[in-house]
Symmetry: C2
Subunit: 203 residues, 2 copies
DNA sequence: AATTTAGGTTAGTGGCTATTAACCGTGGTG
DNA sequence: CACCACGGTTAATAGCCACTAACCTAAATT
């Protein structure tokens, strides 16, 4: 008699484990964003999640696995989110506006992870780095496809460059908001970033 | 009879020393940009400059001092350069355009150092971090002053945010161009970044 | 109720790495 | 030409840190 192989039963322990794992990933996002992957020890990581040191190995196979889980997660969220946004919108112009709004939301609400993603991508082991880069590329292509519908005559190299630049613009605030202090006029910042992105992307 | 205290004599050794120091800083810029400050050992640093290990201590008091020299240098270059640009231009609109061109030039020609600056700033020891932040703040204020002349009615908080976002836009390419490969259509990229920056900064 | 399993703990252990020590050849100085 | 400061070398040294071992408690399972 076996338990189901994929669908794990929801026992008290498995819930505790899941929330512990989530706490570890939260701590990792914060600490890696502040000090960089190589500036954070497993002990730091554990104790930030209320557990000390080697307990981390009950949840991840090693330090690299923590970074992988974090960055693969965020890359998938971005790609999936963008696909949902495009699927839900009617015309390309609306799609682009929604993509901008989506990325601004993401950058403002998950600033830590954004920061880790473009700070410590190169610390991933080869295989996972390729996976994350592939997900990022596909996310970029969602944008480029949308832009291409709006400007069929512009070559895709230029559209990719434009998209990169807009990402830099939107992701500039994670570099600004240090530590995780609350931003005073968040709505104003959101609107400003959306307006600037829109202006920049329209040639 | 003493040698001049400030103006060192130009002997063969002092020239060799200066160029060795420059080589070390170059190597540091490249390696730190690729792997991050904590991912590079003193041995790596030395051997990338054609010298091995502890010889670095003949030029810098320690690893932190290498990072400090690098980041203080770039911050000063940016501030001084921007002051020169503003001093040389006639009207605020021309000044802003020249500031954009200056920052684009800098980001494209010194991508490594730009990347280190917003990746490993927090690895500086407290005192030097404050100095670099102060220089960066003054650089930002040069931009904000120029923008304020063009839009006297807009509050400076908003202008600071706009400036940050434009920096993010322009500095996006260092994150893109990996390792230091040559960029195909550099002039086109330069023009694109300038145009997008201008569009974004004009509300 | 007995047993197993899982998640936690505290001690190693081994490797890496920043820094120092001790030593050496040579360019610059007198 | 004798001397010395300097930039280099290789060999310790010491501390940090990822990871493993051994053990313990209690939830799940039977």
């Amino acid at each position: 008699m076996e338990v189901l192989p994929v669908e794990d039963r929801l026992t008290g322990r498995s819930i505790a484990k899941a929330s512990r794992r989530a706490a570890l990933l939260d701590a990792a996002a914060q600490l890696f964003a502040e000090r960089g992957y190589n500036g954070v020890s497993i002990e730091d990581l554990g104790s930030a999640a209320g557990v000390s040191g080697p307990a981390v190995y009950r949840h991840f196979s090693g330090k690299p696995a923590v970074l992988s889980a974090l960055l693969i997660g965020v890359s998938e969220d971005l790609l999936d989110g963008s696909l949902a946004v495009v699927a839900a919108s009617t015309d390309p112009e609306a799609a682009l506006k929604d993509l901008i709004r989506f990325q601004v939301d993401f950058a403002l609400s998950k600033a830590n992870v954004i920061r880790v993603q473009d700070r410590d991508l190169s610390s991933l082991q080869r295989e996972d780095e390729q996976l994350v880069r592939s997900l990022q590329r596909r996310y970029l292509e969602v944008w480029v496809d949308t832009l291409a519908e709006l400007s069929p005559d512009v070559d895709r190299v230029r559209l990719r460059r434009k998209t990169h630049a807009v990402f830099g613009l939107i992701n500039s605030t994670p570099h600004t908001t240090h530590g995780g202090r609350a931003v005073p006029d968040l709505a104003g910042l959101r609107g400003l970033l959306e307006d600037m992105s829109w202006a920049a992307v329209r040639i």
